[in-house]
């Protein structure tokens, strides 16, 4: 397999996001449609059912740096959420505490990150965690 360069990889992700090929439980897009470096993205996660996150929509900021996808993106919750892998003052997802970023693979995408965060919300211990008031932000 050859290595698809960063820009063409991000264009593919953008097209998949725009087409809505991804699952309905998460979405993402470019923050600034004019930014041809395609660095800053916004994402949303629909809280998983049968958890304290049910029916909530979480907003996130995703930064794909110059070495993406060789290196993972920086991911930060904008909506307040109580999860062990999320820094409770900044909203940043802590790399060491979130396996998808810690054990990053080049084949992972922004969609992988959003879906895995959603799974994280639904684990037996995390789904019962008390959550901040809906609509509050970091």
């Amino acid at each position: 397999m050859s290595k698809i360069p960063r820009s063409f990889r991000l264009l593919e992700e953008l097209e998949n996001g725009e087409k809505g090929l991804g699952p309905e439980s998460c979405s993402y897009g470019l923050t600034d449609a004019d930014d041809n470096t395609m660095t800053n993205w916004n994402g949303t996660i629909l809280g998983p059912p049968h958890s304290n996150h049910e029916n909530r929509i979480y907003s996130l900021a995703i930064e794909c740096g110059p070495n993406y996808p060789d290196e993972p993106p920086k991911v930060k919750f904008i909506s307040k959420v109580n999860l062990p892998c999320v820094d409770q003052t900044t909203g940043e997802v802590i790399v060491e505490d979130f396996h998808t970023l810690r054990d990053w693979k080049r084949s992972y995408t922004m969609q992988t990150v959003l879906l895995d965060l959603r799974k994280e919300m639904a684990t037996a211990t995390n789904k019962k965690l008390p959550q901040p008031k809906e609509g509050s932000t970091f």
């Binding site: 050859s2 290595k3 360069p5 820009s7 063409f8 264009l11 953008l14 449609a33 041809n36």
Partner: protein, 151 residues
């Protein structure tokens, strides 16, 4: 690194030994399927005297699949959008394995010489082009001198 198909090696060699006038294409040392490309704006077009940087990538299935090409230099053109994506039939539905890197780049150069506002990618630019061609061309020329300066 996976070995490079003979076809790609031959095409790359020919791009260097027998370059297309006004076009350069050079593979990155660490990824021989990924090319740095420059195209000079065609004479008589609003892009004249500009030097446009592009990137080109040959996917795993090349030549069964078309190369991926994108403008890095900002350009005001009805068939090129704000992210540098190009609307060109041979890059999409009309791709044929008989085409090559050089034919693709020649087609991109030809697209600069004759924009096609009736098949737009950048809708706002195309509308401007149809309603006010003189003004649109002046803007394209202005962007060329702003963003596509030769070193």
């Amino acid at each position: 690194m996976a070995s490079l198909p003979k076809r790609i090696i031959k095409e790359t060699e020919r791009l260097v030994t027998d370059p297309v006038p006004g076009i350069t294409a050079e593979p990155h040392d660490d990824n021989l399927r990924y090319f740095k490309v420059t195209i000079e704006g065609p004479a008589g077009s609003p892009y004249e005297n500009g030097l446009f940087h592009l990137e080109l990538y040959l996917p795993d299935d090349y030549p069964m699949e078309a190369p991926k090409v994108r403008f890095l230099t900002k350009i005001y053109h009805p068939n090129i959008d704000r992210l540098g994506r190009i609307c060109l039939d041979i890059l999409k539905t009309n791709w044929s394995p008989a085409l090559q890197i050089r034919t693709v780049l020649l087609s991109v150069q030809a697209l600069l010489a004759s924009p096609n506002p009736n098949d737009p990618l950048a809708n706002d630019v195309a509308e401007d082009w149809i309603k006010n061609e003189t003004g649109a061309k002046a803007k394209a020329k202005e962007w060329t001198s702003l963003y596509a300066k030769k070193e």
